[in-house]
Symmetry: C2
Subunit: 431 residues, 2 copies
């Protein structure tokens, strides 16, 4: 490969300004909803001791790790997710915080997967967790937050659904049927793969437990009373006016071994893509990570940036909402100074500096050129106003670029006047 074609590694993304703005749109919505729910932000290292993930998973490591030996001979890896690190921090420093902890993180994670549409080797995750509260109200709070996050992006009833399940219901089922404790993970794996696996394979596997596929399907279809936690969650969400977004679906168990109770996934209603978000209760993880020294019930979920972005782009309302936001961001500046007289550059720099000091976003060309050309560039940049600095200083003109109208202004008190002008609509200034 010629070095002139250097590009990002497969599955890694560059974020030139528009892509970065899209990413920041996701981040801003995530932060804003978390803030209204009283969650506080934290972050964890991108690189961690591999043993942390080994401990979390009970000895089985994913084959998708970016794992290597650092210069000090440590076995380290880029984080594939953030919950292990959260459990590590919680185990070490939970005493410093009143319970429950309501924490969120927006972080980049790394998995060596086959890159494809909607999946890369790096991705951002919005992680929201409640630690120190064992009851279903905490699960309901998280599900409500997941729903309100979707609504903040412009999705509503009919666009998506939260499918809630409860591993406890399956544990009770397994118990009643006399399934060995140590074979329960294997049993849950079968349920997890039910929709994707060939029926004869499922039947054979269930057979080793003395079960028929029909029994499983019946249990999924008639789950009344099977999950007390779900009933409590639904009641809670109904009080919030969010009952219509959730349904019980015991076919969901989620792959990861560490979940202990309620689990849920957010899907687009047509189920045309992977889950937009997913999570559940993991009451034993902090204890596992801390070798039993700290016991802290926990529940959480994650939403990745790839799937939500695809969903937004396929949904008219959500896409328009994002575009409006991007449009507002796309202008580098509110005001561009047009230098009509190069001999006034020093005065123009003084004005530029004063306006920026007052928090007004503004710019001025390095090379002056023709005034018409300067106006054209100012328009193309998306700026609202052009401030024409010429030989009449301290008198100037403010040109509204959308309406092409002009307003006189004066260097004296300019920053204050302009800050106020920016608050008003584009049209001609009312007297």
């Amino acid at each position: 490969m010629a070095s002139s074609s250097f590009q990002a590694l497969p599955g890694f993304r560059d974020f030139p300004p528009r892509e970065c703005a899209v990413r920041n749109y996701l981040f801003e919505n995530w932060r804003e909803v978390a803030r209204t729910y009283g969650f506080v932000e934290y972050d964890t290292p991108v690189l961690e001791d591999t043993a942390l993930y080994l401990k979390k998973s009970g000895g089985e490591l994913s084959s998708q790790l970016f794992r290597f030996e650092d210069q000090g001979g440590r076995d380290v890896c880029l984080r594939p997710e953030v919950t292990a690190s959260l459990a590590r921090i919680a185990a070490r420093s939970q005493r410093e915080f009143p319970k429950p902890l309501k924490w969120f993180e927006i972080g980049q994670c790394f998995r060596y997967e086959k890159p494809q549409k909607g999946r890369g080797r790096e991705f951002y995750q919005f992680n929201v967790d409640i630690l120190g509260e064992a009851g279903p109200r905490a699960d309901a709070e998280l599900i409500a937050l997941a729903i309100d996050t979707m609504r903040a992006f412009g999705f509503d009833e009919g666009d998506f659904v939260v499918r809630v399940s409860d591993r406890q219901a399956w544990l009770d089922f397994a118990n009643e049927r006399g399934i060995d404790e140590e074979r329960i993970p294997e049993f849950l794996q079968i349920i997890d793969k039910l929709e994707r696996e060939k029926p004869e394979v499922t039947a054979e596997k269930l057979g080793t437990f003395g079960l028929a596929t029909g029994e499983i399907e019946t249990f999924i279809r008639q789950p009344e009373n099977a999950s007390l936690a779900f009933e409590a969650i639904r009641e809670d969400l109904e009080a919030r006016g969010l009952g219509a977004f959730v349904e019980l679906d015991l076919s969901i168990v989620r792959g990861l071994a560490y979940y202990t109770g309620v689990v849920f996934e957010v899907f687009d209603s047509s189920r045309s893509m992977r889950a937009v978000a997913g999570g559940g209760r993991y009451d034993t993880l902090v204890s596992t990570i801390s070798d039993g020294s700290v016991d802290l019930p926990a529940t959480g979920f994650a939403m990745g940036d790839y799937v939500i972005r695809n969903f937004i782009e396929e949904h008219t309302d959500a896409r328009m909402r994002m575009e409006v936001w991007l449009q507002r961001q796309s202008a580098a500046c509110d005001v561009v100074l047009v230098l009509a007289d190069e001999s006034k550059r020093s005065e123009a720099l003084e004005i530029l500096s004063e306006l920026r000091g007052a928090g007004i976003s503004c710019d001025m060309p390095f090379t002056t050129g023709k005034v018409g050309k300067q106006f054209q560039r100012a328009e193309q940049s998306g700026a609202r106003f052009a401030l024409v600095v010429g030989s009449e200083l301290p008198e100037m003109k403010l040109k509204v670029l959308a309406s092409r109208t002009e307003e006189p202004c004066h260097a004296l008190g300019l920053a204050e006047w302009l800050a106020e002008r920016l608050q008003q609509p584009d049209g001609p200034l009312l007297a």
Copy 2:
């Protein structure tokens, strides 16, 4: 090591809420100043092809890389800095953007150094670059931005100084003294180490060029007319009212080979710590990275999070300014609902949901407990208001936690009323 003592890798930081808020304070100031200057945000991958850095440095790789082979056999490394990636993106896609590009990035970088106070193995960098403008006005714009960034943190004249130098002045000097072109990097290295190296070592090294230390010191002390670029920059900054922050100091050349002209560093006035920021012109890098297919003059600087944070903590005004910001952030919520009657939980959830939907940050305990205890926890959380939901619904009381005064309120139109109330000071509401 017992697994119960899992901790972050040496030189890596956890960011529990307060640390994360400090980090976000730096990020917010960086973003805000960049915005007022009309710079747009971009980002680049954390992991890159090692060959990119090899190309940038002309074949010499830092010994401090987190470098490894990925699962696909690629020689990759965690980014030690972001300019190589920026040059890669610029070389590939500069045609899509009007020049000059005014771009900034806030990104985490990784270097395997000995961890010590003020230096870790990961750190965040604020990178600001102008591409496509060769003249000193672009350098002046960047230096002005660096100065205004420092001022945004609460530093002023007398607290810090920008020492500006010009490699071109040294290239001219080397030319006049007949130094071989290929020995120029070696010569610049001697200047770079002048203040740290033993005088006899410097003298010996300079001797190989037929030079005496005195000649070098004289050139540094009498730089008049030696840097035309500096004169233009000073004039520009003086017009902006920022002339007092800069001085010419030819002893600065900066270590990296890729700088081509003006270079500068920001120091605290007492010079008690490493440079707070540094950068300069690198007019040939995009051409190098693209094997000559794209030629784009460029200039930029970076400010790291470690040094600026230490500087802030050692400076009364800057520290107070940060603490005020952190104080405002430390409250998880503006409003905490106090549930005086557990039988009203459903109604309280409805209110909670309505307020959050209106963008008001609020919370409610999962477990009710005594009212006095609830007030106490609301106060400890830093919330401004407690909203008491009890048996008199839809009548409620709003308690101002600072003044312990109460105001009656009503469920009808509550969100609107509360949003307005939050805009007003804490004291008793005026009629």
